[in-house]
């Protein structure tokens, strides 16, 4: 088991670094095993350093930088061991337009192996979807679902 963990850890770490550099256009990111005594298993720490900045701990990142770093880790896990289905609920809320584009580009590539269900308010994310559902609350406080095309959204 230890053997499998360390192979997976290396793969996730390498992929995390790649996604981070794609999202931030450079910089450094790394997963570190925390040192422990013989008994307990090591934990995993995150180092994330946007390009041209000195910050290294994740609590000094901005709100959007934190979301992007979290997505880089999630995508690294999906990349290393693809799950057939992935459901994301408004993960793009804190991202600016340029970062939403980087996020959706990476998503498009991963969607070849993983099916995504994405809840979003963001027009740019909706534009890259294959299928869009609109949910609305009726007068009787029940939800109804309608299949939409992008043209319907734009008109709203």
């Amino acid at each position: 088991v230890k053997e499998r963990f360390s192979t997976t850890f290396r793969k996730v770490n390498a992929s995390f670094k790649t996604y981070f550099q794609t999202f931030f256009g450079g910089g450094e990111a790394e997963l570190l095993l925390t040192r422990t005594d013989e008994e307990t298993l090591p934990g995993v720490d995150i180092i994330a350093q946007p390009p041209r900045k000195k910050v290294r701990t994740i609590n000094m990142l901005s709100g959007g930088e934190r979301s992007l770093t979290a997505m880089a880790l999630l995508f690294a896990l999906l990349d290393t061991n693809p799950s057939p289905i992935c459901v994301l609920d408004e993960v793009d809320a804190a991202l600016d337009e340029a970062n939403v584009d980087r996020f959706t580009t990476a998503l498009e590539k991963l969607s070849e192996r993983t099916q995504f269900v994405i809840i979003t308010h963001n027009r740019r994310t909706l534009e890259m979807a294959d299928t869009i559902y609109g949910v609305s609350m009726g007068e009787d406080s029940t939800s109804t679902v309608l299949s939409l095309r992008m043209a319907d959204i734009a008109a709203k």
Partner: protein, 165 residues
């Protein structure tokens, strides 16, 4: 394996029979605040066996059954069915199409179905664990929980990596 169709009836704000067809690739869900988008994500997790009240925003089974509104009476049962395309044999079953169902009653009883025959929760969990569609996996990111990945304790993050092993 991929999600083909989701049928919801009586789960949270879905009082009538509602269904969503999914293709491969990316499906987006949009709509105003409070319209029921997160309820759709929770219906998917619920039918796959989710039990945690924190994830379902429900303290007891009853909370996920349509509680009624000014114009519509409360319902006695919630039912969600999910149709999975298994032509790639991802799920260790001899079916090309697998329908998983879950029902809950106000009494607190839950029933689980696999292709129309009743099964135990334990059977479903074993099936999904083998197929890497686990409940606590990184593949479900709830609303406002993006930060959680970063604030986990180091040993919990190790758990996420172990899942990917």
């Amino acid at each position: 394996m991929y999600l083909k169709r989701l049928d919801v009836n009586g789960f949270k704000s879905f009082a009538g029979a509602t269904s969503l067809e999914f293709g491969g690739g990316v499906t987006c869900i949009a709509g105003p605040n409070g319209s029921g988008k997160t309820n759709v994500a929770e219906a998917i997790r619920w039918v796959l066996g989710e039990q945690a009240s924190r994830v379902l925003r429900a303290r007891k089974t009853e909370d996920i059954i349509f509680t009624g509104s000014a114009k519509r009476p409360a319902m006695g049962m919630a039912e969600v069915r999910i149709t999975l395309d298994n032509s790639d044999g991802w799920l260790p079953l001899d079916f090309v199409e697998v329908v998983v169902g879950r029902r809950a009653y106000r009494s607190g009883d839950n029933e689980y179905y696999l292709n129309q025959s009743r099964v135990r929760l334990k059977d479903l969990n074993e099936l999904f664990m083998k197929a890497q569609v686990g409940q606590n996996s990184y593949a479900f990111m709830g609303q406002g929980l993006v930060e959680q990945v970063l604030t986990l304790r180091p040993e919990d993050r190790r758990g996420m990596i172990e899942e990917a092993a």
